[in-house]
Amino acid sequence: MKARVHITLKSGVLDPQGKAIEHSLADLGFAGVGDVRQGKYIELDLTETDPEKARADVTAMCEKLLANTVIENYVIDLDA
């Protein structure tokens, strides 16, 4: 089973890298782009086949390592 994890900064946490991307896009002539936020995307191949157990495992991985929940949120997608 494949797990896809998106990790994003919580709203209210300043994202200087997102701001820099926003400025570069404006410099390249892309008008009308605001509030750029950057994050991380992590793919995992799991031997677990039970979606409920897989989700519990990946949630524990996010809490213990993949995300820093002081500043980051995570969303887990699973496909069989």
Binding site: P16, Q17, L65, L66
Partner: protein, 220 residues
């Protein structure tokens, strides 16, 4: 003083830390590799600066989960003094020994220069040889030193006098100009600036020596 310096892959201030500890205490520290599962009996533990694990995932994130950190966390909970400098501070926040997180510098650039710190709390085992309000010159060298914590955590740090050092002129966007903080018990200090780099005139400064003298006196 029996001390240990924890060495992670891509630590690069571990030898500076060892030199500072030996110069002040007269005893060379144990250099303990991150993969070890036993910590020798020591009075003091130092987590050095560097770029452990290439700053992969988040600065300090991998190092905080390395085998030796389980022992460091246990020792910290038992009251052993622990000092984390630069990457060591990032490892302390990632391991949960200190609150908050060190984010990318607000200016996005790596900052490498000598800055001035104000000693905010000199009633700690790390700072007793300074005076409150002293301004000391200590170098910083980091990309991720921008301290962030939620409002409740910041209030606790302020109310409980757990901000040991503040930047006089904030180089990285840290909230409340925070350069170094203590845990609630006062036996864990994390700071971005490098006191171990200013312990002798030949290094360009001596303002860091008082920290190591403080620790030596406190554990004696």
């Amino acid at each position: 003083m029996k001390s240990a310096v924890i060495v992670f892959p891509a630590s690069n201030c571990d030898r500076d830390a060892a030199v500072a500890l030996e110069a002040v205490s007269g005893a060379a520290p144990h250099m303990v590799w991150h993969g070890e599962t036993d910590l020798p009996p020591v009075d003091f533990i130092l987590l050095p600066g560097g770029f452990s694990y290439g700053d992969y995932l988040r600065s300090g994130a991998m190092a905080a989960r390395s085998p030796i950190m389980r022992e460091v966390i246990k020792a910290a909970h038992n009251g052993t003094p622990v000092l984390g400098i630069c990457n060591g501070f990032q490892v302390l926040t990632e391991s949960g020994l200190l609150p908050g997180v060190l984010m990318r510098n607000a200016g996005l650039t790596f900052v490498c220069k000598t800055v001035h710190l104000r000693v905010e709390n000199n009633e700690t085992l790390f700072t007793r040889h300074y005076n409150k309000g002293d301004q000391i010159a200590v170098p910083v060298a980091h990309h991720d030193g921008n301290y962030f914590a939620d409002a409740d955590t910041l209030k606790d740090l302020e109310d409980q006098n757990r901000i040991a050092f503040r930047y006089v002129d904030n180089p990285n966007g840290s909230q409340n100009d925070i350069a170094g903080i203590l845990n609630a018990n006062g036996n864990v200090l994390g700071m971005m600036p490098h006191p171990e780099r200013v312990i002798a005139p030949i290094l360009g400064g001596t303002d860091g020596a008082a920290m190591f003298e403080s620790i030596l006196e406190a554990v004696a």
